[in-house]
């Protein structure tokens, strides 16, 4: 696989993997910014924008735009992350020029007609109602609030009832104007297109956007640390818990070792300690896992478990014990070896399709890891030693300082102290 840097005549840069095996082109792009650029009191603007991107642009109203999308058999969707706005486009080679015209309109001339805005607002508010009753979502929102407090990461990406009610078409326009700009844009392209045609396409797609973004500065979040347990009572048979604390930043020298460590803790499916102890040995949960989220302004380590109300306390104790044991003793040499052989061997699986390759290349750009990262990533994993992982386990894991949010009706264990209403 050869990755080429392409610069368009207008100066827009992208990474390209040319492949003519299938008659399609996959483009992934991102604007740095994301939901953390939502103005205070207008939580959910970025998410609202993503839902408006097929609701009309230029002289096409929502219905005309959506019918045109179907005619062109294209796939286009947007996603609001904490730090980035993600765009995902796929087109058949045969339709690509017309598709690029339509996407250019969507990016540079979104209409935000009143009726379309009201329609989408209703959908977002209906979505909130489902989220409010979904134990995992409630636990996750509560965790963010508790961990990040007043920082933008503490606010829900989809907004609140009040904030969404207060978002106007002008708020949406303002967000697009500030964030959809060429200086914060990264692009990866995979498929049936050569560098010259891509150069022209890039100018067409993104050339109408303003050169400079107007992002507000987002402060570094204070690293979240407990101990804190919050129980939100919901009448469900199974309690869902999210637990975790501060993590390790993507550019920290220990990040790769932490990544390997997380595989051993709870990132490695059936090969992970948490799965072994909670599910395989005790049958306490169907799903238990952990992740590192190295957000740009504050990294976290977060895990999830769901267990019947009667045994949730036991699940949490098992998890806490396991985290403590890992911090004290670290993993075994064999665990490290197995983790490395999985992580290095499975890296190739991420490059199986055009869309998955495009996604990998996009994240390498977002995280500024360099064009050669694909080639030396496995060496970085191989270089992690047992003493690295032990050191990082001590540094990362704080089993007695977890922030845990529980949603359900857990049978009260002696150490659960309800914190009252979430806030």
């Amino acid at each position: 696989m050869e990755i080429h840097k392409v610069t368009s005549p207008g100066g827009i840069k992208a990474w390209l993997v040319e492949s003519h095996a299938n008659p399609l082109v996959a483009i992934r792009f991102a604007f740095r910014g994301g939901a953390s650029q939502d103005p205070k009191g207008k939580d959910g603007v970025a998410y609202f924008v993503t839902a408006m991107m097929d609701e009309g642009a230029g002289d096409l109203d929502a219905t005309a735009f959506q019918e045109r999308q179907q005619e062109l058999a294209m796939r286009l969707d947007f996603d609001a992350g904490r730090d980035v706005m993600l765009g995902n486009l796929q087109t058949l080679t045969a339709n690509k020029d017309e598709v690029f015209d339509l996407v250019r309109l969507a990016l540079a001339q979104p209409r935000f007609d009143d009726d379309a805005v009201e329609r989408v607002r209703e959908q977002i508010l209906a979505g909130h109602k489902f989220d409010e009753n979904d134990p995992a979502t409630v636990a996750s929102h509560a965790w963010d609030r508790t961990a990040f407090k007043d920082h933008p990461y503490g606010r829900p990406v989809k907004g609140t009832k009040d904030s969404v009610a207060g978002i106007s078409p002008d708020d949406l326009r303002d967000y697009v104007r500030r964030v959809f700009a060429r200086d914060k844009l990264v692009i990866s392209v995979v498929g049936d297109i050569n560098a010259e045609d891509l150069g022209k396409a890039l100018d067409k797609l993104f050339g109408d956007l303003p050169e400079r973004s107007e992002l507000v500065t987002v402060a570094q979040a204070e690293p979240p640390l407990g101990p804190k347990r919050e129980v939100i009572v919901m009448d469900v048979p199974q309690s869902v818990a999210q637990f975790g604390h501060r993590g390790i930043a993507r550019h920290d020298d220990d990040f790769i070792a932490a990544y390997v460590l997380n595989y051993i803790i709870g990132g490695g499916g059936f090969s992970s300690r948490l799965m072994e102890e909670v599910r395989e040995k005790r049958g306490l949960a169907y799903s238990v896992y952990s992740n590192l989220y190295p957000y740009q302004h504050g990294a976290v380590f977060v895990g999830h478990v769901a267990t019947k109300n009667e045994a949730l306390a036991q699940s949490l104790t098992v998890i806490q014990d396991e985290l403590r044991r890992l911090a004290e003793q670290g993993p075994s040499a064999e665990e490290l070896k197995d983790a490395k052989s999985y992580l290095t061997g499975a890296y190739a699986l991420r490059f199986e399709s055009s869309t998955s390759i495009a996604s990998q290349l996009l994240w390498i750009q977002i995280e500024e890891l360099g064009l050669d990262y694909v080639d030396h990533r496995n060496e970085l994993i191989e270089a992690v030693t047992l003493s690295d992982v032990k050191r990082v386990a001590k540094r990362l894991l704080a089993a007695d300082q977890l922030i845990t949010t529980i949603v359900g009706k857990p049978v009260e264990p002696s150490d659960v102290k309800p914190e009252g209403a979430p806030g």
């Binding site: 097929d54 005619e71 329609r119 059936f270 999985y342 009260e412």
Partner: protein, 479 residues
């Protein structure tokens, strides 16, 4: 529009997303032939071992990786009465061990080889898969063949895993009123056929499943004569054949292929409405299912017409139901639908709509009925058909981009009795569908006597002293 709404409902179709999936729609079918210059037979080839194992090889040399899938032609609809959930339970237990693979090591060994694995169960099939680097295919195949014939289960494995499955049921069903309602709707829709029984099983029957039930199901249905092996990725037929002969080829057929004759649905004489009021229901939601044939059970041409009917009626923001209910009448916040086309004996047409702040269930139900009446009376327009067909066929190309998806989709169709040629002729058959064909299937299958309407309504939240304090229940936890 908010995509989440559609995902939420289409992902939560009766065979649930995740490990229990059956939402293999033909719309997401990957047909290599459409994507490639080469003829289909160059990329998709097949052979059968003397023991009856049907092997399909899909060559895709873009990356040095392969997907292996074994599909057993058995699922929840083949369970003995009273043992609901045993097909899915056995799927979990297949990861326990054999003489050669110690208990609980299967997935760990795959992981040590840099691979990923999983499995899923639906009413008609149970499938196991691994994604590995090409040079590890031999290991994956040895292990998959080994557990086809040599499963070992201890009492402890079985008891612990039963608890895991009860937790899985709580996660998928009991914690989600939408899933509870869908389970009830399926039970009402299929009054005699086992599709009315949930794939994961009823809780009280799962609780009673044991080691002997699992082994009996295993002995009855698991064998090379009852399976399809699909290998997709950086391989050619000859190397797969050599590996398969050395591994699966050593297993003796354990009888004849499972005939899969299930109880048939009687004629339905009344439409059914199922209502669930639950404090956890976020918004009032109305869903309606109609029994219709699947690709496997349909008369020639009917499934293709149903496929396009539902694309036009209910797909995304250009679907009829969204246009009428959401854009024009403002009777709902969102609306859509689907065609469940993959069953062996029967399929379903589904519609859903979610209330906006001010909408009632009656208003939504009436508007939904209006859309169905219009389809029945007037069918669809040529313009709608042309647009929908172009988008539908394009899905092939998008899906042929991934060998994992191709393995899944070819395997699913072939396990449901189709030939490779049937699968590959699909775009041609789709091209023959006319507006008259679509109108005919709309009139025939949008029959209210064959429907179930499910209404989910928020009930007032139950307030009690537990609202500010976790409860202490009578039973005691295991701790």
């Amino acid at each position: 529009m908010v995509e989440w709404m559609l995902d939420h409902f289409t992902a939560a179709l009766d065979p649930r997303a995740g490990l229990i999936v059956a939402g293999l729609t033909f719309a997401s079918m990957a047909v290599a032939a459409v994507a490639a210059e080469t003829s289909p037979s160059d990329r998709v080839r097949e052979f059968t071992l003397p023991n009856g194992l049907h092997v399909v090889v899909i060559a895709d040399h873009r990356a040095p990786v392969v997907t292996q899938m074994v599909w057993y032609k058995t699922g929840a609809a083949d369970e003995p009465q009273g043992d609901s959930g045993i097909a899915h339970f056995l799927e979990h237990l297949m990861f326990k061990g054999t003489e050669r693979v110690p208990s609980g090591q299967f997935s760990k060994i795959i992981a040590k080889n840099g691979g990923e694995d999983n499995a899923f169960t639906n009413h008609d099939v149970t499938a196991y898969f691994q994604r590995v680097a090409k040079d590890r295919l031999g290991t994956a195949m040895e292990m998959e063949a080994d557990r086809m014939a040599n499963l070992r289960l201890t009492e402890e494995d079985v008891t612990t895993e039963r608890d895991v499955i009860l937790e899985e049921r709580r996660s998928r069903v009991d914690n989600d009123p939408g899933s509870i309602l869908q389970e009830q709707m399926m039970a009402a829709l299929y009054r005699n056929h086992p599709y009315g029984t949930p794939i994961i099983g009823w809780e009280h029957e799962i609780e009673a499943l044991d080691r002997e039930d699992a082994l009996a199901f295993y002995r009855r249905f698991y064998g090379p004569q009852n399976a399809v092996l699909v290998v997709a990725g950086d391989v050619e037929l000859d190397e797969v054949k050599e590996l398969a002969e050395k591994t699966f080829g050593k297993i003796k057929a354990t009888g004849k292929a499972n005939k899969r004759i299930r109880p048939k649905e009687p004629k339905h004489d009344a439409e059914v409405v199922v209502t669930l009021e639950d404090p956890r229901a976020g918004r009032t939601t109305v869903q309606r299912y109609y029994i219709a044939p699947s690709y496997a059970s349909a008369e020639p041409g009917e499934a293709e017409a149903l496929d396009l009917l539902m694309r036009i009626a209910a797909h995304g923001a250009v679907g009829r139901i969204y246009k009428r209910l959401v854009v024009e009448q403002k009777a709902a916040a969102s609306a859509g639908g689907w065609y469940t086309d993959s069953g062996l004996d029967s399929g379903r047409l589904g519609f859903y709509a979610i209330a906006g702040e001010a909408n009632t269930a009656d208003e939504i139900d009436a508007a939904m009925t209006g859309v169905v009446d219009e389809l029945r009376e007037k069918g669809v327009t040529q313009e709608e058909l042309d647009r929908a067909r172009a988008a539908h066929i394009a899905e092939f190309v998008y899906n042929s981009d991934s060998n994992a998806r191709m393995a899944r989709q070819y395997g699913g169709r072939i396990a449901a009795g189709m030939s490779v040629a049937d699968v590959e002729a699909w775009p041609e058959r789709l091209n023959k569908v006319t507006v008259e064909d679509i109108h005919a299937v709309a009139r025939k299958y949008l029959d209210d006597d064959d429907s179930v309407t499910g209404i989910l309504k928020p009930a007032p939240k139950f307030k009690s002293s537990i609202a500010d304090k976790p409860t202490r229940t009578a039973g005691k936890g295991k701790s």
